[in-house]
């Protein structure tokens, strides 16, 4: 049975709305969220914390960005009401919204914005004007506004002792790193005070624990593992999923050293039966992919074949004189990764290649999950390249041809083998009203309210 993200998002497609339409939003109440992630910091610029859809969403509760990307991928004003590029797109000016205050009650100033943006972007020249900030880059940066829409560029005021505050719809009232985050509605929020009074986030909870908590009415939002999505829906839970936002891929630890090694990598890629893995292991969720970016982002992903071709794999294997055994590493904490790694090893064996799964720190290749960094492909592609250890592609224009050629060039390096594009899924309690999320999984929690049907 075909059961991809398209079928999963049915309940959230209409602008992600999963609301009953009968009543106006009601103010008040505390929303409970459980997450698997357990970050030690919510500073949006802290790169030491693993990236994830959940982390970005929690960050956006506290930190606004200058611009945001809407559900159609168009940029919309947020803390900046307008922006303008100088010829060449190296110098950008962003005019700030008036009357915005940080959670400590002090006004948002150009100086504060400039100081905030310098932290995640040390290579940028950011200066403050009277009512604007100016960003200068060394090279043309036509997609700079889209870059600023990323959660990592959330505007934060950093104080002594690592304290960090933002201007977002919620402010932190209690923070126990890696364990618990308590948020309260910010009454002076420029976009209008959120309907919810508070959000309590329990962190470091396994997917199983989260679903149990949801069943018991102890949480309102629980993450759903890819392979559990169908079963969770089958159990009558309300599940919403994003479009594919995570690439599962094999990433080699080094460049290929010879044409023969390149051919061996090709054999491995041709041997993998993604369709079976999707059907059996992923329970029909996710999309087999030969591309680095999902089709909803580029529109051409289907050109890169993801079909198993065992005949050609064996043919190419017969042309290789020496095919050394490879070790395939995976995240020991990811039960899905272990099963998929073992399936890949079996597929490789069918093609005449030896792949041994391992949890060692230095495998020849690693089964990796790469979170889509932005719905803008010209931002997302360089991020994938960087994660794979490939040089940044040269993207100078808005041409779709150029983007395709750049993605193709990265694939030709054979540093990574794309496997699946996976969605992010969440199970919601029936009390949640007006839940909405963008295709990239961005929540709009400031619009959520709690109905009276809490179990």
């Amino acid at each position: 049975m075909l059961f991809g993200w398209r079928s999963l998002v049915v309940s959230s497609l209409l602008f992600g709305m999963v609301a009953t339409a009968e009543t106006r939003p009601q103010y008040g109440g505390t929303l409970h969220v459980a997450t698997r992630i357990a970050p030690a910091s919510f500073d949006p610029a802290d790169n030491s914390q693993p990236d994830s859809v959940a982390r970005r969403n929690l960050s956006r509760l506290m930190f606004d960005t200058l611009v945001v990307m809407d559900h159609r991928g168009h940029l919309q004003p947020a803390l900046a009401t307008s922006w303008q590029a100088a010829p060449g797109s190296q110098r950008w000016q962003f005019w700030l919204r008036r009357g915005v205050k940080f959670h400590d009650g002090l006004p948002l100033t150009p100086e504060a914005v400039a100081a905030s943006l310098r932290v995640p972007n040390p290579g940028w020249n950011v200066s403050a004007g009277v009512d604007s900030v100016v960003i200068e880059r060394e090279a043309a940066a036509p997609d700079l506004p889209a870059e600023l829409a990323r959660a990592r560029n959330g505007i934060a005021k950093r104080g002594a002792g690592g304290s960090v505050i933002g201007t977002g719809p919620f402010h932190a009232s209690d923070w126990q790193p890696g364990k618990k985050l308590s948020l309260s509605a910010y009454e002076e929020y420029w976009g209008g005070r959120a309907f919810l009074d508070a959000i309590e986030v329990e962190m470091g909870r396994s997917n199983r624990d989260q679903l149990i908590a949801l069943e018991l009415g102890k949480t309102d939002i629980a993450e759903v593992a890819t392979e559990q999505a169908q079963r969770t829906i089958g159990n009558g839970r309300r599940v919403v999923t994003s479009a594919p936002v995570e690439l599962m891929a094999l990433v080699f630890s080094r460049d290929k050293q010879s044409s023969e090694e390149g051919k061996q990598r090709d054999v491995l890629a041709l041997s993998i039966d993604r369709a079976s893995i999707r059907s059996v292991v992923l329970q029909g969720v996710g999309e087999p992919s030969g591309a680095l970016l999902p089709n909803w982002v580029t529109g051409y992903a289907f050109v890169f074949s993801s079909d198993q071709n065992l005949g050609r794999a064996r043919q190419e294997r017969s042309e290789i004189q020496h095919a050394p055994a490879w070790t395939l590493g995976y995240d020991a904490g990811d039960p899905l990764a272990r099963v998929i790694a073992e399936r890949i090893a079996l597929n490789a064996r069918d093609a005449g290649i030896t792949v041994q799964t391992t949890m060692s720190a230095n495998p020849d290749l690693r089964l990796t999950r790469l979170v889509l960094s932005s719905p803008n492909p010209r931002i997302a592609l360089p991020a994938v390249a960087a994660a794979a250890g490939v040089g940044a592609p040269n993207l100078n224009s808005n041409s779709i041809d150029e983007l395709y050629q750049a993605e193709n060039a990265i694939l030709q390096t054979q540093r990574l083998v794309p496997l699946f594009q996976l969605p992010a899924g969440f199970a919601l309690s029936s009390a949640l009203q007006d839940w909405s999320e963008d295709r990239d999984g961005t929540w709009h929690m400031d619009d959520v309210w709690l109905g009276s049907t809490r179990p």
């Binding site: 009953t20 009968e22 991928g73 922006w83 289907f302």
Partner: protein
């Protein structure tokens, strides 16, 4: 100077702007929409000739002149007519470039064109196979066809739904200021402005825009109301703000912070105090209903006159209906939604209640009820909306109501007039 690749100004800086000015296209679509005032469904034609030409040129650059087998595959859920049109257009453009479409066995090259899309654009991808395993890919982008459609009028029984206005920005209220056989002068209230439109030369033309000045952030699920006046054009009631238009031309709008009560009815003098940072009335009203001067926090209110008193209904935030007759405050649950209002008509008892109704999906509906005693009696079939109802107010003349819903497909706010017709 402007960057050659894209317009440098993404969003012109307007110092006072709180929410960006909408693009011309949205206004244009609104005007187009209202041109079809009397319920003619819109049809949107698509011009694919530019991407067809561009893709044909790219294909020809790879293959050169000769014979080609062309297959067009839809990966973007286009309708069959669009796919057929594009396929035909591609063949025509290829032919002008010296590429003749033939059967695969006769072709020097096979071309599969996939009509795909990404978040922002239509993406047409041509996969070209030529002799000796040569494989090329070329592609073009085109603007996505926004399938903005507007629901035509359902078969009316008792409630007639007449489209008035549609726009991307939230519509808080619409006031019809002049009309003969049809409305000719409209005021549209949104969080930023009151816009005046006049129907002249067969189309709606914007006459004037008056900015709503306010100092505090607006609350979520924002609400507002337009009230036409005798001595000046109109008043606008918004959370914590009241604006009054001048009585001279050009008309100006003076806004001030105020917690004065909003009028709850055009037929009866009763005002309700609106919570300036919320989406509901505080529950206190003025000058009072008999001995009563307050009830629970409520979203909406509607009067029904009786022989010796007026019965007021309040849809309170806890989902209940409060019935106030001047002496008692009776609480009940009628499975109604948050919005109700009443209209004076020539049908039935002469007064009907229009109320939204709970539903489990993203659409909403309004029904008419009679209230012979203290229990409502359904008086009409439901009139449906393609999204949640965000406003329901009785118009100034008291016999019709304005309803605004957010279309769940397009995201636009659509304003309608609801008129009750008898005996159907």
């Amino acid at each position: 100077m402007i960057s050659p690749r894209q317009p440098a100004v993404y969003n012109s800086p307007i110092a006072e702007m709180l929410i960006p000015s909408p693009g011309f296209s949205s206004r244009a679509s609104s005007l187009l929409l209202v041109l079809c005032f009397w319920l003619t469904p819109l049809s949107y034609g698509a011009d694919w000739s530019t991407p067809e030409q561009e893709l044909a040129r790219k294909i020809a650059a790879v293959t050169g002149p000769g014979t080609v087998a062309l297959e067009v595959v839809d990966r973007a859920s286009l309708n069959k007519k669009d796919v057929d049109d594009i396929s035909r257009g591609l063949r025509v453009h290829l032919e002008t470039l010296g590429l003749r479409a033939v059967k695969p066995e006769q072709a020097a090259a096979t071309v599969q064109v996939s009509l795909s899309e990404n978040l922002q654009s239509s993406v047409w991808v041509a996969e070209i196979h030529q002799g000796a395993g040569e494989f090329s890919v070329v592609m073009v982008t085109a603007p996505r066809l926004d399938e903005a459609t507007f629901a035509g009028e359902p078969a009316p029984l008792n409630i007639r739904k007449i489209p008035l206005w549609s726009q991307e920005e939230r519509i808080l209220d619409v006031a019809v200021l002049e009309e003969g056989s049809s409305p000719s002068h409209l005021a549209v209230l949104d969080p930023d402005k009151v816009a005046l439109y006049r129907f002249t030369d067969g189309r709606w033309q914007r006459e004037q825009v008056m900015e709503v000045i306010h100092s505090r952030p607006w609350p979520r699920d924002m609400r507002g109301r337009l009230v036409p006046r005798q001595d000046h054009l109109l008043d606008a009631y918004l959370p914590g703000v009241i604006c009054q238009s001048s009585n001279s031309t050009p008309i100006s709008l003076a806004c001030r912070a105020s917690d004065d009560p909003w009028p709850l009815s055009s037929s009866f003098t009763l005002g309700g105090f609106f919570a300036p940072t919320r989406n509901y009335f505080t529950g206190v009203f003025s000058p009072g209903i008999g001995k009563l001067s307050s009830t629970g926090k409520f979203f909406s209110a509607a009067p029904i006159p009786r022989q010796n008193y007026t019965l007021w209904m309040f849809a309170t935030v806890d989902g209940q209906i409060h019935l106030l007759d001047g002496i008692t405050d009776q609480t009940t649950r009628w499975n109604w939604g948050s919005d109700l209002t009443s209209v004076k008509t020539l049908c039935g008892s002469g007064w009907q209640i229009l109320a939204t109704r709970p539903s489990d999906n993203v659409t909403d509906s309004v029904r008419a009820y009679e209230l012979p005693d203290r229990e409502p009696v359904l008086a009409s079939q439901a009139v449906d909306f393609a999204g949640g109802v965000t406003a329901l107010w009785t118009e100034a003349k008291g016999s019709t109501a304005i309803v605004v819903s957010r279309n769940a497909e397009t995201g636009n706010y659509d304003a309608f007039r609801l008129a009750i017709t008898c005996g159907q």
